[in-house]
């Protein structure tokens, strides 16, 4: 999309009568900034290995009312037991298919911003962050009051569908009051042939609050999915994140976690499976700003065919953030000679009493281990599948909710069956 194309869509957005105009100044400001800098190019350090041509050459338009489903939707393939689901189809909230969680305040992204407009300071680091603020059109915000433990996990199910090239821009705010807790699942699916989703999630955790955040990125393999998760943690809060990604042609996850209160703990984990010409990225910034915080990053990718990906992990320990305990691990398994991963773990430490570890490994399946398994009678396919499963197990086991873990494990096994070759 070139600049004039973005401009046309932006004008349409600003003229929508069913969107609150109170956030217009915010949109206008972000869009002006975007126009100044444009889309990232390969000359930008953080974007060197991410090919954005599917977005820059695409011809997307914002999703209109007529892009909402005409009749009944069948969401049974995405059925998960014991959770509340909010369904969003091509950017349109589906009230009849959704079950509203109790114990939380659920607001549209715009309503949330309207309420907090005066104090909301949108941290915008990339052109896609700016585009999100300019074009936000869907998603929900969840506010949990202090001391409330939300029992049932809350899922937002995003479905992309159809032949139209749509640009959908979810905006999600999750605010957890002191000592509250919730499990939040983003689930991205669809059969769209051309689709650009540019999502931003803003998480604010009050003191001692706990968010368990699971992201299932299984959108169709002809879509582009950009995601930004901005996390702000106060004292003693715990944030646990796990992404399972096997979808989209281009999928990029950016997480920026700021540990602002002592005793905060942040655990970021991801498993990416790619084949054909998929490109899946994980870009992490873990920012330790105060003493006595702990963090971990554990990202693994399994790449088949000529798929590619990037792990870019930066752990920053600021001056004075003593007793920081942080580790970072990136492991990649290449199932094909043509697969490519760029792994770039980085540490920036400005304090002197900290414990920081990081490591990165990339390789093919271990030949000795393969022989070992085959010498016990397992055929080549079973031996390989067993080893890939072994590679992923520790991440799959992180999902504590049985229904969600079984759902993700089933998807993993299906992928394994289709992507293991002798």
């Amino acid at each position: 999309m070139n600049v004039s194309h973005f401009q046309t869509e932006f004008d349409k957005m600003m003229n929508r009568d069913y969107f609150s105009d109170k956030v217009h100044p915010l949109r206008q400001d972000a869009f002006s900034k975007f126009l100044e800098i444009g889309l990232p190019t390969k000359k930008w350090e953080d974007w060197r290995f991410t090919n954005l041509s599917s977005i820059s050459k695409g011809n997307f338009r914002i999703s209109e009312i007529q892009d909402a489903p005409k009749g009944d939707l069948d969401i049974s393939p995405y059925k998960l037991k014991d959770i509340d689901t909010i369904v969003i189809y091509n950017g349109h909230y589906q009230e009849t298919l959704s079950s509203i969680p109790s114990g939380v305040q659920l607001l549209s992204g715009l309503d949330y911003l309207e309420k907090t407009n005066s104090e909301f300071n949108s941290p915008e680091h990339s052109p896609f962050d700016l585009l999100n603020t300019a074009f936000m059109d869907s998603g929900m915000s969840i506010v949990v009051d202090s001391n409330v433990d939300v029992e049932k996990p809350i899922r937002m199910l995003f479905i992309s569908s159809g032949l139209e090239s749509l640009m959908v821009t979810p905006r999600i705010h999750i605010d957890l009051g002191e000592s509250s807790s919730v499990t939040f699942i983003e689930h991205h699916v669809g059969n769209s042939t051309s689709f650009f989703q540019n999502e931003s999630v803003f998480v604010i955790l009050g003191q001692n609050a706990q968010l368990n955040h699971i992201r299932i990125q299984s959108n169709s393999v002809s879509t582009a999915n950009m995601a930004k998760i901005q996390v702000e943690q106060n004292a003693d809060s715990r944030y646990t994140f796990f992404q399972f990604a096997d979808g989209s042609r281009l999928g990029r996850l950016n997480i920026h976690a700021e540990l602002k209160g002592e005793g905060a703990d942040c655990s970021l984990n991801g498993l990416a499976l790619s084949n054909d010409s998929q490109h899946l990225d994980n870009h992490i910034i873990m920012d330790h700003q105060v003493p006595h915080c702990t963090s971990s990053q554990n990202f693994k990718s399994v790449l088949q065919d000529h798929s590619s990906g990037v792990f870019n992990g930066r752990t920053i320990v600021r001056e004075g953030a003593q007793k920081t305990d942080s580790n970072q691990s990136n492991k990649n398994l290449l199932l094909s000679k043509n697969a490519l991963i760029n792994s770039n773990p980085q540490l920036e430490i400005y304090a002197d009493d900290v414990k920081c570890a990081h490591g990165s490994t990339t390789g093919a399946l271990d030949k000795d281990a393969l022989f070992y398994l085959r010498s016990r009678g397992l055929d080549m396919l079973s031996a390989k599948a067993l080893m890939v499963r072994g590679f992923a197990t520790e991440l799959l086991d992180l999902v504590k909710h049985d229904g969600i873990r079984d759902f993700i494990t089933d998807r993993f096994d299906t992928w394994l069956l289709e992507n293991t070759t002798a």
Partner: protein
């Protein structure tokens, strides 16, 4: 059962086995002794089909059939088992899951039904006793965090579970403390039967105190230079290998 005829094999351009002949009949236990580098492990790897070994001459027959073109899994399913000198660590792969998959592959090959989880657990608990292993090892990843002795016992556990007709033990005794050695030897002895054969590869005479091989062979520079009974091992203990080297 196993017949090795004039076997020449090596790695890349390096010749290691230079005309090895060996015949093992059902029920027999053969021990092969030799220094490091004499070709003992190459022999085990060629019999089990590890990649990277070239056979330039000769043949390996198992029950009358040449197996050199067979995949490692085909050899295993036919009844050949090797206890590895260096058992491989496989992170994330649960030991029970692995053993069950291996056993069921074998059962299916034999036209039997695979065991379910309960049936397998019953069987494996019985086998664990034979090697004095705690059932906690079943829950761990294959050989992950196992001590040297635990790894070797895990190999014997796999052997007892898969019930091969030809078991090759590649330096299974190396690095074992005396208690573990006794357990491994006892496992072997109890496992002997009229239709099962053993090829025990070692460079220490110590193991032979606890097992009774029918034949002892001395391997030097890729050839068996001397064969005899158990007394040959004793002789090697006293005189070393140099009197056999030309």
């Amino acid at each position: 059962m196993l017949k090795i005829e004039n076997l020449h094999a090596g790695v890349e351009d390096k010749a290691i086995l230079k005309g090895l002949n060996l015949s093992i009949k059902p029920g027999e236990m053969h021990a092969i002794m030799g220094r490091n580098g004499s070709g003992k492990s190459t022999l085990a790897n060629v019999i089990t089909g590890r990649e990277g070994y070239n056979v330039s001459k000769g043949d390996v027959l198992f029950n009358g059939e040449s197996i050199l073109d067979w995949s490692p899994e085909a050899r295993s399913l036919a009844g050949i088992f090797m206890s590895f000198q260096y058992p491989v660590v496989i992170p994330g792969v649960n030991n029970t899951y692995f053993l069950k998959a291996a056993l069921n592959a074998k059962r299916k090959h034999a036209g039997e039904k695979g065991l379910d989880a309960a049936g397998f657990l019953k069987l494996i608990k019985e086998k664990l006793k034979n090697v004095d292993m705690d059932s906690k090892y079943l829950l761990r990843a294959v050989n992950d965090g196992f001590s040297g002795g635990e790894k070797k016992r895990n190999e014997i556990l796999q052997m007892l579970t898969l019930e091969p007709t030809l078991a090759i033990l590649d330096e299974t005794d190396s690095g074992l403390d005396i208690d573990a050695l006794k357990i491994v030897a006892e496992g072997l002895n109890n496992f002997r039967s009229a239709d099962r054969s053993f090829l025990v590869i070692t460079h220490y005479q110590r193991l032979l105190k606890y097992i009774d091989p029918d034949f002892v062979h001395v391997l030097i520079e890729g050839q068996i230079v001397k064969s005899g009974g158990k007394e040959l091992a004793q002789e090697l203990e006293e005189k070393g290998y140099s009197w056999l080297e030309s």
